[in-house]
Amino acid sequence: MHELSIATSIIEIAEEFAVKNKGANITKIEIEVGELSGIVVDSLEFALELAIEKTVLERAKIIITTIKGMARCKQCGNEYVNSDWHTACPQCASMDFDITGGKELQIKSIFIE
């Protein structure tokens, strides 16, 4: 259940942000979670729901965007969706690829009033 520690890290970053911005009221926070980040979005949503109580995010709208796992084939250069780390290139069937997206786990934006 490491999603709970991720949720508390998100709150910590938001709390710090609020302090730095002189107690600004956070209305919305946008979080990006890659398919290959090792985080289950449903678990993170559940953890956040519990954890934001009595924090600066208590009233904020939380938007979690999933980013597709992407790979670039090192044989033919094709870029394709690879959501499970081990999808062969659909163009040339090669397993020789670099992961180019989907590992993201970050706070993208915070909206304040």
Partner: protein, 279 residues
């Protein structure tokens, strides 16, 4: 609630050395180190990469947007880099040993210490939710060891390792083995500052484990397949397991061993002794 492992505050992380009465109990210090540095945003913002939350209401005002683009793991990652710098300065080679519970991490470590403990200057950090059992096993071999008990925590993090290493007082040019909490999911996200990550699987598990838990296998450098003496009695297909593992991480290096019979251990020892080459 604890910011590091998500545990409740009444379940502190403890650090104990075997045969020392003093029990150093402490809660995680809630230090706040979140440098708001700008870092490049790698993924492209083409719509095909995004699946928008259906609840997302476009055009609805939520006030002034401030770009953050900060990794949620920043705190752990920066502490891990601090550990890494410390280890490099002291020329310490650090292994992070990960696996599901029961694959034989502690037995592998015990046998390694018995067989080549004279050749390398070993230190050990043990991570478990509870008990001193593993640290006691290592201490019985006269190897300096400290036990981290994470309480409810499901993984070690860079801060725990930082504290444990300070208490362990690791010598220059040593080999430090960190045995993580038995868990094939959570520890994969938490860099400890190690030189190499070693994932252990045993043939009594399914040979499809690498694709069931790809994040861990993707993040590892070495894969040790243990308990090969049991291969005649189980359905585990070694080649299949290796191919699955290579499909998520084609850089993985394998050792097939039986800790019990000693089969295959020489290759593992040779790799360990060649430590300078892996730094």
């Amino acid at each position: 609630m604890c910011d590091t492992c998500g545990c409740e505050g009444d379940s502190p992380v403890t650090y104990n050395k075997p045969n020392e009465e003093h029990s150093h109990d402490e809660k995680h210090e809630h230090t706040h180190e979140h440098p708001h540095h700008e870092h490049p945003h790698h993924h492209d913002h083409d719509d095909k990469h995004h699946s928008h939350d259906p609840k997302h209401e476009h055009g609805h005002s939520h006030g002034k947007e401030i770009k953050i683009e900060q990794s949620i793991l920043t705190k752990n990652n920066s502490l891990a880099e601090r550990n890494r710098g410390y280890f490099e300065a002291k020329n310490i080679f650090v292994l992070n040993l990960v696996s599901s519970p029961g694959s034989g991490k502690t037995s592998l470590l015990e046998r390694t210490l018995k067989d080549i403990g004279q050749d390398l200057n070993f230190y050990v950090v043990e991570g478990d939710q509870q008990t001193m059992n593993d640290a006691n096993r290592i201490a019985a071999l006269k190897v300096p060891v400290i036990q981290i008990n994470t309480g409810n925590g499901c993984h070690l993090d860079a801060e725990m390792v930082n504290k444990a290493v300070k208490q362990l007082n690791v010598a220059n040019d040593a080999v430090l083995v960190i045995e993580n909490v038995g868990n094939l999911v959570c520890p994969s996200l938490f860099d400890l500052g190690e030189s190499k990550r070693v994932v252990v699987i045993s043939v009594t598990e399914g040979d499809d484990k690498p694709i069931k838990y790809p994040t861990m296998f993707h993040s590892a450098d070495i894969c040790i397949i243990n308990k090969i003496d049991l291969l005649p009695y189980v359905d585990f297909d070694v080649e299949k397991a290796k191919n699955y593992a290579l499909s998520v991480n084609h850089h993985l290096k394998f050792f097939e061993v039986s800790v019990k019979t000693g089969e295959g251990m020489e290759a593992w020892y040779a790799w360990l002794k060649d430590v300078e080459q892996h730094k």
